[in-house]
């Protein structure tokens, strides 16, 4: 068992090492094979673990070796496999595997092929370390590692300065979050005297709810989550992150990276449960992000940007769930989201691939006849994310909304609004892309082609998952048994005891569902009438937009604002320090001493007039002075 646990992260790592070290020697197909198989391997192992875990809910911990030890501080390389991490592992390796396969086709012909797969494997490895780590520091390892990989992958096409900036932005913003996280971790060590989950969680219930240290810790950890899972105010890197090749976006947005924040909070649910303040904070941030993301997405014309902002808002929803203490629902939505968001991105990738690099939906349209498979799968994805039954998104999102409704109507209202917007912009995207007539440029249009099998198969697989994925969490109302919920029980049991249970009557829940579905359909119809019947096309660049639209189109000018209030001042401060303190103050003082001495030399040497008479005079004078001093003291 331990062996398996050890092997799971090891497989992608070895894949990475092999590819990285033998980079030049390897043929492409071999690289692709190694990369995919290594991930597949760990996927299989994860499944094995899953079932071995299935019968007895015992968590497995496997300690490789002691890592850092200094004084009373000691951390070891040890992995923890419990329901939560197994779920994560399954998603990561599963979806990750599909994305690998897809990339094999997508990246075909890029000179960085081998490099790309090396990075992908490394990415998977770090993500696995993140979710499998049995202590905070190991989680931090993965946490930073994925940051690094995102940097490498977003800046994959390193000749383009735009992309490099995007990559740097991603890394630094993550770093800001990471600082919060590491400080939180240190706080945990200070207050719990250990960094391993077991010991911390064992002690946790001892603390009174809302006690200050816990609050500080959770807030600090949450800052980490904000950075990693692209919440306000650190979300801006995520939309830029689509600078990387599309599979990377899929990986980052769906399977790995952004889910880390969700995982981390779910992992620390007990701490958060003990910190109501932080929970509220999470809800607020989550809601704000959800609405903000959704609104921005409405006005975007880049197919990947739209999806990116949808991710932002979806993540917001998940945080709302977590904040409301519905950890399971958060994980549930994350799971389904992983499926359909991966699907959507890969679909988008396929479209771009077919359109030979075109990303602007204003230049698309009528692609359904060129790319049938992509069309079908994309449709499924869109339905899923819009939350229509019986697709996966429906169940997870509904669960969140229900939970919200039960606790706080305003939260529910806003969340619901966000999800309606989601439906709208997704279908806007869908219609503009696939329906109607082609607006593609001539040179593009005549060789639009469906993607190769290596790309479509993952699409189909993901589409299937997006359809049936919801089945793991069919609520009791609809005669299901919330499998995932039960499975995760051991992880959340502590919190469950502390949290007040909110229960909606089944009728209420049913009513809610119908309302949601109905309104969603309505929204979809609006989109349909706008973009199919009236063949409306978003205004092209340069055309002046009405103010609201412009604000949305420019994403509330957030990047610009950051530039003004953070970047520019920092540079200014640096320059000021350099000019004032470094040069004027310190250097002045230091060199001033030297100058003073030289000046003294210049002047004192003039005393040496060379005139003997003067010398003797000086001597006599000083003799007199000496005598005076002596005889009158």
């Amino acid at each position: 068992m331990d062996l398996i646990v050890g092997l799971i992260p090891l497989a992608p790592l070895s894949g990475f090492l092999l590819i990285a070290l033998l980079n030049k020697q390897l043929r492409r197909w071999l690289v692709a094979l190694m990369a995919c198989s290594s991930v597949l391997f760990s996927f299989v192992l994860s499944i094995v673990l899953f079932f071995s875990l299935g019968e007895d809910q015992q968590a497995i911990t496997y300690t490789a070796f002691e890592w850092i030890a200094a004084g009373n501080f000691s951390v070891s390389f040890s992995f923890l496999v419990d329901p939560l991490s197994i779920v994560m592992m399954l998603i990561i390796t599963g979806v990750g595997f599909l994305i690998h396969v897809y990339s094999a086709g997508y990246m075909h012909g890029d000179e960085g092929f081998n490099r790309f797969f090396a990075y992908l494997n490394l990415f998977i490895f770090f993500m696995l370390v993140l979710v499998m780590g049995a202590n905070y520091l190991l989680m931090f390892v993965g946490w930073e590692g994925v940051g690094l990989c995102s940097y490498l992958l977003i800046g994959f096409w390193f000749k383009n300065t735009e992309y490099n900036n995007a990559a740097k932005k991603a890394f630094i913003m993550n770093r800001i979050g990471d600082l919060g996280l590491i400080l939180g971790v240190i706080m945990i060590f200070i207050h719990f005297g250990s960094l391993s989950y077991q010991e911390v969680f064992a002690q946790a219930p001892g603390w009174a709810s809302g006690s200050q240290p816990i609050t500080i810790i959770t807030v600090l950890l949450f800052i980490g989550a904000i950075g990693k899972s692209a919440q306000i105010p650190l979300y801006t890197w995520l939309p830029d992150a689509m600078a990387g090749p599309t599979p990377v976006s899929a990986l980052i947005h769906a399977a790995t990276m952004v889910t880390a924040g969700i995982y981390m909070i779910a992992r620390n649910n007990i701490l958060y449960t003990l910190a109501p303040f932080t929970l509220d904070l999470v809800v607020i941030i989550g809601l704000a992000t959800a609405v903000l993301g959704a609104t921005i997405a409405v006005a975007q014309n880049d197919i990947k940007k739209v999806l990116a902002y949808s991710t932002v808002s979806q993540l917001g929803l998940m945080f709302v769930a977590l904040g409301l203490g519905a950890y399971a629902s958060g994980i549930f939505h994350m799971t389904t989201h992983a499926f359909f968001k991966a699907l959507l991105f890969l679909g988008a990738g396929s479209v771009i691939h077919g359109m030979s690099g075109e990303q602007d939906i204003r230049n698309m349209g009528g692609l359904r006849k060129y790319l049938p498979i992509t069309f079908a799968t994309f449709l499924i994805g869109t339905l899923a994310i819009s939350g229509l039954p019986p697709f996966a998104g429906f169940f997870s999102k509904d669960e969140i909304l229900a939970g919200a409704f039960a606790q706080n109507k305003i939260v529910w209202g806003l969340a619901f609004f966000a999800s309606l917007l989601t439906a709208f912009y997704m279908f806007r995207l869908f219609f503009l892309t696939f329906s109607g007539t082609s607006r593609a440029k001539a040179e593009v249009s005549h060789h639009i082609h469906e993607s190769p099998g290596s790309m479509t198969t993952p699409l189909i697989a993901l589409a299937a998952l997006s359809v049936i994925g919801g089945s793991v969490g069919i609520p009791a109302v609809l005669g299901g048994n919330h499998a995932l919920n039960d499975f995760l029980t051991p992880v959340f049991s502590q919190s469950r005891e502390l949290l007040p249970a909110h229960h909606l009557s089944h009728t209420a829940e049913l009513v809610l569902m119908t309302v949601v579905v109905a309104l969603t359909l309505g929204v979809i119809f609006i989109a349909y009438s706008l973009y199919v019947q009236r063949k409306k096309v978003p205004a092209s660049e340069g055309v002046s937009l009405n103010s609201l639209h412009r604000v949305l189109y420019h994403k509330y000018y957030v990047d610009e604002i950051y530039d003004r209030i953070i970047l520019k001042p920092m540079i200014f401060l640096s320059k000021a320090l350099d000019a004032v303190i470094e040069r004027l103050l310190i250097d002045r003082v230091v060199n001033g001493a030297g100058k003073a001495v030289t000046w003294g030399g210049k002047t004192l040497r003039l005393v040496q007039t060379g005139n003997t008479g003067f010398y003797i005079f000086a001597m006599v004078i000083s003799i007199i002075v000496l005598l005076v001093v002596k005889s009158f003291t």
Partner: protein, 458 residues
Amino acid sequence: MNSVFILSGLGIFSLLAEIFNIKRWLFPVVILGLILSAVLMALDWNQATAYYSNMLTFDNYAVAFSVTLSLVAVLWFLMSKDYFENTTNITDHFSLILFALVGAIFMVSYSNLAMLFLGIEVLSISLYVLAGSNFQNVFSNEASFKYFLMGSFATGFLLFGIALIYGATASFDLQIIASKVAEGTTTTTQWLYAGILMLIIGLAFKISAVPFHFWAPDVYEGSPTVVTAFMSTIVKIAAFAGFYRLFSTCFSAVSNQWVDVIQVITILTLLVSNITAVYQHSVKRILAYSSVAHAGYLLISLVGLNDISSSAILYYVIAYAVASITAFTVLHNVEVEDENAAVDSFNGLAKRNPYLAFCMGVALLSLAGIPPLAGFFAKYYIFTVAFQSGYIGLVLLAVLTSLIGIYYYFRIIIAMYLKSTEKGEIIQVPLRHTVILAISVLASIIVGVFPDLLVGLI
């Protein structure tokens, strides 16, 4: 003791040498004689014998210093041979130098003020002449003139002081003076104190301590380089040793009367010399100021007078002498091709003659007091003396000034190793000089690494 006669004899011999025209034997004979006399002196070790009704006392202090003097003199002769060969009357020079050396030895071994006075005079008069020994050169004339004028002026004060001391104690014998001073059985204290003050003035002039240092830079610059070397080594050693001998034996009992005066002089010396040296062009002048500065460091040990200060002085003096002999030898070689060498004439020495550059570097580092060279431990030892007597402020000042010192010593080093020069040709060094440099450089390293060779000797 007999060594004194040997040296005087050598002096006369070298005069006769001209007559009997055996000049070519002169040099080896002188060298051998010097070494012989050094050996003979060394035999007096631990005897502390008084000679000629207690005119001279060769206690360990005297022996140590006179041996040092003779050995330095050997090095000096080796260094300056060629200079004299160019002059018309080599024999006169030799005899004068030897007489001066005799005077110097009296100055370190006297136990009667008469001997101190005569020693100083023999030394000075020879030097007045030697400073001017380059007749045609106006600078040389001026140097000797200034030296003479101010020297004899200072002698006046010295004598006045001696007279007052005599008036106070009715004797010239150090022991008697010391005992009377200690018992306070002097005729009147006023005469004593005034006398001490006058002595301080006269001797401070001889060791060129500020504010009686004005002659030093000019004379050093004007005199022929070898003579300057003689002044800044032997004369300085003898003068300070004499100074210290007098005050440590006779007047230590009333040190509270004069110590603050010395302290003031010390502080002035340290500051003025070091700062003034910073902005000099002629290397000779820089070395002159540095020798003034070193007088200041030596004075520290007189301020914080205690049981280890004499050995500190011995160590310091040796370290200093070795280093400056090296420096002057190099300077001498550099001057071969341009007169009155400025700092710039050292440019690119590292390329033109790495050996010279290296030796100069070691010498300067030692003068600047950088470990592990002798100069460092010398300074350190002096500092300990001051510390032990609780003059921490003085130590801090000395540290500060030695930092300033770094600045001007390193100007030369930078010139040698960094600056480039159009004069490409290699400087030829006579074998004799190579040997001296080797000896003295090794000396400053060895003495620096194993200070125990000298520490606690006296």
